[in-house]
Subunit: 212 residues, 2 copies
DNA sequence: TCATTTGATGAAGGATTCTTCAGGTTTGGA
DNA sequence: TCCAAACCTGAAGAATCCTTCATCAAATGA
């Protein structure tokens, strides 16, 4: 996967005046809404523009094509999530393993729930062109972050290996996806969050024990 | 989601002669191939027919529309996977918890790996119309199956609750998806399979312990 | 053999969608 | 105030795609 495979998605023009900033914001938001109400298949640039209250031409002033629009929204969301995950991991350094995992998992769940609608809408986009490459990047970055955190755990001899961390992260993401797509009640989210912590804690503990 | 929302996807005509059976088979296979080489967005009925070596008209003789074609392929795949999972669960009844989980997880991984290409191709379809409803059905059926198996575990007092099982299953599926999409080597698959067993075993053990 | 059923063909209608561009409006500074 | 830059508009070109149907070919069985 060439690194420059993503350049075709770069924005065409950056907003300068205040009104255009509002416009771009509206277009992003409209994209989410259309994605949720019509699905990827029936998302058209005209529909997005209409929902945003602007004309199609305006949309094309900021995004060179439809895919770049979807890509930008996806990138923005994933960026938000991983930043919060990284912050949590930094704060959890040098603590016991179980605490580390708890803080990381809770940060992830909270970040996803913060804009649950966006999360759900973008699962449909992530499979498209550009999505897989982006996700691969994010996964790698997450792995590195968690790996670095685990190195500093105060109560284990050797941390779990890369594969174990990859599996934990993808398991966590998968469970979260399933949860989000079910449209859960706040009570369910609370319980599921706790279960997710337990899942990751017990696995990491077991994986670390096997590596003594 | 109304139950009859899926009737529009039903096949139009069932093959009677031998040649038409071959044709339908070829169309199914071609769908997978086009999905892998072009993606959902650029999958057209004409392209599928061409790849299958038949004309578009033939395709429409067996599938009322494009979505029904995708739906049929997805349904067939998921059906295969869950049947193997159910068989494994039945065979594992009355055994100790850890063994149960191992057999179930291994059956799942093996079923997915059996036609890894199909699995990967269909992740792109699963988000479309009909997919979510179907997946919900499958998830529920899986949950019931695993739940019944766990009831018979010989070495635990009370089995994990529904939410825990749901989370385990979606975590397992999520990790498997991530693995498949990475195009792993056989060695990686072997290791990951073992890690997945450990993940589910340690979580189920912990969840059962909390319920005493 | 031959009539009937089953299967296959692919050009073309109808509809949708992406994207552009020539021309208009608004903003901010000189 | 006034002009240049920024911004917005939306009709229309170009391309693609889904689906049908009139027509032909193959198979079945009586």
């Amino acid at each position: 996967m060439p690194a420059d495979a993503l350049v075709a998605f770069e924005p065409r023009k950056t907003p300068i005046q205040a009104r255009s900033t509002v416009t771009v914001e509206a277009i992003s938001e409209a994209t989410i809404q259309v994605l949720l109400s019509h699905g990827t298949e029936r998302l058209t640039t005209t529909r997005v523009a209409q929902r945003a209250g602007v004309s199609v031409g305006t949309l094309y002033q900021y995004y060179p094509n439809k895919q770049s629009l979807l890509f930008a929204v996806l990138e923005n969301h994933l960026s938000n999530v991983i930043v919060r995950l990284e912050t949590a991991c930094e704060n959890a350094c040098h603590k016991p393993l179980a605490e580390m995992i708890r803080e990381m998992v809770e940060a992830f769940v909270d970040a996803k729930m913060d804009r649950a609608d966006i999360s759900v809408a973008l699962y449909r986009v992530a499979a498209d062109v550009g999505g897989p490459a982006l996700i691969k990047q994010i996964q790698h970055r997450s792995r590195k972050t968690v790996e670095a955190m685990l190195e500093t755990a105060s109560d284990i001899k050797s941390p779990p290996d890369k594969l174990a961390i990859d599996i934990m992260l993808s398991a966590m993401a998968g469970a979260m996806r399933s949860l989000l797509e079910a449209g859960p009640s706040p009570a369910t989210v609370r319980k599921a969050r706790e279960q997710l912590v337990l899942l990751c804690q017990s696995y990491m503990t077991a994986a670390a024990a096997k590596r003594v």
